[in-house]
């Protein structure tokens, strides 16, 4: 039983990463219905931001914290640019958006290769994030690595900030209005184009934050985005379109499932099981955990 409990903790660490990489998507895919395959490359941009900042700023902690806002802006700007250049022309064609942004992701990867070189680059983690927190000591201790705890905290903070933005700010109200009824929103004087771009900015900015967090646990290289993009989409698909809560539940559920399966079987069996579980789950609830009902038919 302790094994499962400790694996649940590992699952929470995995889930925190999943949540953070999927959070931006819950805006762009969840709210706007845009399948942005370049989301992974925005995450990559966030990670390279840390790398760039560690050049002039040698203190790993300072550069990491400073990277959070900078990466948010860098990735957000890239997202807004992408929206302005391509995506806004494709709102009526979601599947074509998927393909176009995949092309963009290929380009960004090659760009990273040309700018930063093909090999992975390395960033240092601050000392205060090494080691782990012991929750329960003794024979079978329950522990959580500080780096994961940081990611968990970042994810929770991002979810909270996002919820507040959506619920309490004029921008959030406009965003929700546009999601629920574009024509009506437009008719009531909301500049839907601007709202779309801002939403995309936010979603992509969150990808930048995720990139910063990923430097604590994984490799930083031109192909890092491709490895995580499908996982991120699966979280949103399971979580359900348009609901943050769904994404949160899905991320941790998938994380725990993966961790427990991995512990008791092998990694590949665990991956396949998780994927099959997702397909089966969609049989049961085709629209994910939480569904936002829109009143239009098609």
């Amino acid at each position: 039983m302790t094994v499962y409990l400790s694996q649940s903790f590992t699952g929470i660490s995995i889930g925190a990463v999943l949540l953070l990489i999927a959070l931006g998507l819950s805006l762009t895919f969840g709210q706007m219905g845009v399948i942005n395959m370049a989301h992974g490359e925005f995450i990559m941009a966030g990670a390279y931001t840390v790398y760039m900042l560690q050049g002039p700023i040698s203190d790993a902690g300072v550069s990491l914290l400073l990277a959070l806002p900078v990466a948010f802006l860098v990735a957000g700007a890239m997202g807004a640019l992408l929206e302005w250049l391509l995506i806004r022309r494709l709102y009526a064609r979601p599947l074509d958006t998927l393909l176009v942004t995949w092309g963009v992701s290929l380009m960004l990867q090659q760009l990273a290769r040309d700018v930063f070189g093909a090999p992975n680059v390395h960033t240092s983690s601050p000392d205060w994030l090494s080691g782990r927190l012991t929750l329960i000591g003794g024979e079978d201790p329950l522990t959580l690595a500080y780096s994961r705890l940081f990611i968990l905290g970042l994810a929770v903070a991002a979810v909270a900030a996002l919820t507040l933005t959506l619920r309490r700010t004029p921008l959030g109200r406009r965003m929700r209005a546009v999601v629920q009824h574009r024509d009506l929103a437009e008719a009531s004087g909301i500049a839907t184009g601007r709202v779309d771009r801002l939403t995309f900015f936010l979603g992509s900015g969150l990808a930048g934050l995720a990139g910063v967090a990923l430097t604590l646990v994984g490799p930083i290289g031109p192909t890092m985005g491709t490895n995580i993009i499908i996982d991120a989409f699966l979280v949103i698909v399971v979580g359900g379109i348009g609901r943050l809560r769904g994404a949160v539940v899905a991320a941790f559920a998938l994380g725990v499932l993966q961790a427990v399966m991995e512990y008791s079987t092998t990694v590949s069996v665990a991956r396949v099981t998780v994927l099959i579980a997702i397909v089966a789950f969609l049989q049961w609830r085709p629209q994910g955990i939480h569904t936002l009902r829109t009143r239009s038919l098609a």
């Binding site: 400790s6 694996q7 590992t10 660490s13 995995i14 990463v17 093909a118 090999p119 992975n120 680059v121 390395h122 960033t123 240092s124 983690s125 090494s130 080691g131 782990r132 522990t143 690595a145 500080y146 780096s147 994961r148 604590l216 646990v217 994984g218 490799p219 290289g221 192909t223 890092m224 490895n227 995580i228 993966q258 961790a259 991995e262 512990y263 092998t266 990694v267 590949s268 991956r271």
Partner: protein, 419 residues
């Protein structure tokens, strides 16, 4: 309407007829027969002033990171030989092809090099999968491949020279070292999910059984996998004396970070890696690797005049910051060995070159290597290195003398039944 339909039927009939005619015309050889039209062995093109060789490496895709360095080392060797007068009086003309990290592309490009370009030999391939993909091409065309990377053994094609280590020159010495020098009695095996780690771990398991080492866990992560929280926990829980790591590429970054996060260190549970060379250390971060072990035949720091001049030449050519690594050294060596074989044979023909191969030696950066004509592998010295906080790998143990290659582990009784 009916006219269109009629037309279509006619077209259909034409296609079927064409197909039938073609298959009747194509009474090719049955399985096991010699092809009647017999262009079996591809001709080496010796018509020009130069002699062409193929360089087959992934210049794009996931493997490009590693394989480009090998290509660079190959080119360096060719330039040096050319500057020294070439082979049999001819300059070597390298033709570089991109395998694009895709095995069918490797097969296709090797066919192109052999058939279209008439190269005397091909140098390259990194992954076992790409080597397995090109092997039939080289065997069918009677051409030669020089393969420069340590691999899982259990192979001996007459058309391939293996200049990297086979298992008894890397894995078994590494196990000997762990057992004798580090007093390891239990091992945890972590690897990427592909042929080298799986085969290596079968050998390790057999070795462990023979020598009373307990294998307390064995895990494989899909290639490119970057989530190692669970595996790190399993490793920690196992309480093994050491970890034998056959992870590849990106996965190492995540693995070592998680490993460090669990609080494990090189002192408490050392990790011996067989796929981390100088090139990879920088990407993983030296602080995560400090004190950990590697097993290779060559390090940038290996002593000797041959290596000093190799490192010097390489950095002069490609930049001061470029490290040299074992596969690069093996690739560099392979060109010199081929040139020596050709000089010995006095011919570029594959059969002559093979016949001349046995006993060819070269004063390589790793020390003297000798070609074993029977297995077409090299006698190589095994070296265990420790990664320093600065990222440099220094030798802590060596086999002292070159080990005879034994790709099928026939001289190890405990390995019986492995192949």
């Amino acid at each position: 309407m009916p006219r269109i339909r009629g037309q279509r039927h006619r077209l259909f009939a034409a296609a079927v007829t064409a197909l039938t005619v073609m298959s009747l015309a194509a009474c090719g050889a049955r399985t096991g027969e010699e092809p009647a039209s017999g262009s079996q062995a591809a001709e080496v093109d010796t018509s020009g002033d130069t002699i062409k060789v193929g360089l087959l490496n992934s210049l794009s895709g996931t493997m490009a990171i590693s394989e480009v360095t090998v290509r660079d080392a190959l080119l360096l060797a060719i330039e040096e030989i050319n500057a020294d007068g070439g082979v049999l009086g001819r300059q070597i003309e390298p033709i570089s092809e991109d395998g694009a990290s895709d095995w069918p592309t490797f097969a296709e490009k090797s066919e192109k090099l052999i058939q279209q370009d008439g190269v005397a030999a091909v140098f390259g391939c990194w992954t076992s999968a790409s080597r397995k993909a090109v092997l039939p091409v080289f065997e069918q065309n009677g051409s030669l491949l020089f393969y420069p990377v340590q691999y899982e053994g259990l192979e001996q094609s007459p058309n391939i020279f293996y200049t990297g280590a086979t298992t008894n020159q890397q894995i078994i010495p590494a196990l000997d070292y762990l057992r004798e020098e580090e007093d390891v009695e239990s091992l945890y095996l972590v690897g990427s999910d592909y042929v080298f780690p799986r085969t290596a771990n079968r050998i390790i398991t057999a070795y462990a059984e023979e020598h009373g080492i307990e294998i307390v866990g064995e895990d494989y992560a899909p290639l490119g996998s970057t989530e190692f929280a669970t595996i790190a926990t399993k490793v920690e829980d196992s309480g093994a004396d050491a970890v034998f790591n056959t992870l590849n590429g990106d996965s190492n970054v995540s693995f070592f970070r998680e490993y460090a996060a669990t609080g494990l260190t090189a002192e408490t549970m050392p990790v011996l890696s067989v796929s981390i060379a100088e090139e990879e250390v920088a990407g993983i971060g030296a602080e995560y690797l400090a004190g950990q072990l590697t097993a290779w035949n060559y390090y940038q720091t290996t002593e000797g005049a041959a290596n000093e001049s190799f490192v010097q030449a390489f950095q002069d050519r490609y930049g001061e910051d470029r490290p040299t690594s074992d596969p690069m050294e093996a690739a560099y060596t392979s060109v010199y060995l081929w040139a020596a074989m050709v000089e010995e044979a006095g011919s570029f023909e594959v059969e002559d070159v093979r016949a001349a191969a046995d006993g060819i030696t070269f004063d390589a950066p790793e020390g003297t290597v000798t070609v074993d004509g029977d297995t077409q592998h090299l006698f190589k010295t095994s070296r265990i290195g420790r990664i320093g906080a600065d990222g440099a790998i220094t030798e802590v143990w060596s086999s002292g003398e070159p080990i005879r290659p034994d790709p099928y582990l026939e001289t190890y009784p405990w390995a019986e039944g492995l192949s």
